[in-house]
Symmetry: C2
Subunit: 191 residues, 2 copies
DNA sequence: CCAATGATGTCAGTGACTGTCATCAGGCTA
DNA sequence: TAGCCTGATGACAGTCACTGACATCATTGG
């Protein structure tokens, strides 16, 4: 039947789970990789075979996120202006987070509590920006317009996401993103 | 006369100098903190009394940069719209880099060559963005307009700076910033 | 049944970073 | 001048993230 052999399945998933739990219980710095591995029934060495470092275990999902973003840009109608394609993409990504709801907030609480994790989050956002710019270029958008639209889009997402997280009520993330984008247009328009 | 006592003066400066030299000679990863300290005539422990970690030694100047940015925003005429005050600030910072010329390029080469250093650079840019937003708020700009203008401004700076660095000729950074800002306006305007 | 493969364990490092205490110059005060 | 305080440094031991090298063992294909 199933592969129930020497090793329990889904080692990576167990490591992610154990890490998130421990980071929530004691905090990121107070958790050692050895402890994470032990809770997952594995060794420290194996942890580093699955994740490049102690931070990456929290950001494994960002690859999927990037794919969504790129696909959304590619799927935008040909007639859409660069910023409209960008807007459509970040709004659809917003809907993803909307679903994950509680999980997203817990994860974000861990990240917000630690400088090293916030640092890594910036890298992930920069990577998303680069991928977004590349997707726009494939639509024929020239530089530096592609990079600028991408940076602006990610900036809007960052700010809208922060507002959504801090909202007590269950506001709609996509709406916040749309509003923030309009604010950006107003601000850059000079007034 | 001078304090020529037990210790040579300017320990921090000597550490910065030694670190930049070694990072250029062998690369960031291949350099140990012990080596930096030795070249500066100090011990490893003392290095960590001056800099929080091995990366910070390259970013000590960012505090000054932040002051310039904040002052420039504060000095903008009251009548200036948020994005205009932001534009004035990043252009004046651009002039700063223009002066440092060769040094800026050497430093940037070291940073570009290493992922950890690029990561730290993102933190510094995010810090600048936060300070810029704060300065705008002091001008009476409301949220999220202040944060959005700040993020957009830093994004423009980042992209313009990258173009300036990769230019072979000695193009004018302030001009590139101005052009990039106009591009952003065009892109966010929807066409 | 055997060989190749792949995920894991074991072990011995290196090097970044920290806590703690000792040392020593300059300055302040009695 | 002696005594004391302060601040920068050295010396030293320790923790922990991360890596390289090699052994182990289930699965898979022949």
């Amino acid at each position: 039947m199933q592969g129930m052999g020497r090793w329990e399945p889904n080692a990576r998933g167990r490591l992610e789970q154990a890490a998130l739990e421990l980071y929530l219980e004691r905090g990121f710095e107070q958790t050692t990789v050895a402890e994470i591995a032990k809770r997952a029934g594995l060794t420290e060495r194996t942890f580093f075979r699955h994740f490049a470092d102690k931070r990456e275990v929290l950001f494994w999902g960002s690859g999927t996120l990037q794919e969504h973003l790129v696909n959304a840009v590619a799927d935008a109608p040909e007639s859409a202006a660069p910023m409209d394609a960008t807007a459509a993409a970040i709004e659809s990504v917003g809907a993803l987070f909307q679903e994950r709801g509680e999980n997203a907030r817990r994860r974000q609480a861990v990240i917000a509590a630690n400088a090293e994790l916030r640092e890594r989050e910036l890298v992930k956002l920069a990577t998303l920006s680069a991928a977004l710019a590349e997707a726009l270029r494939r639509r024929g958008v020239a530089e530096p317009a592609a990079s600028l639209a991408a940076e602006a889009g990610i900036a809007v997402f960052k700010i809208a996401f922060g507002r959504w997280i801090s909202e007590t009520g269950g506001a709609d993330l996509s709406s916040i993103i749309r509003e923030s984008l309009d604010e950006l247009k107003a601000v850059t328009a000079g007034r």
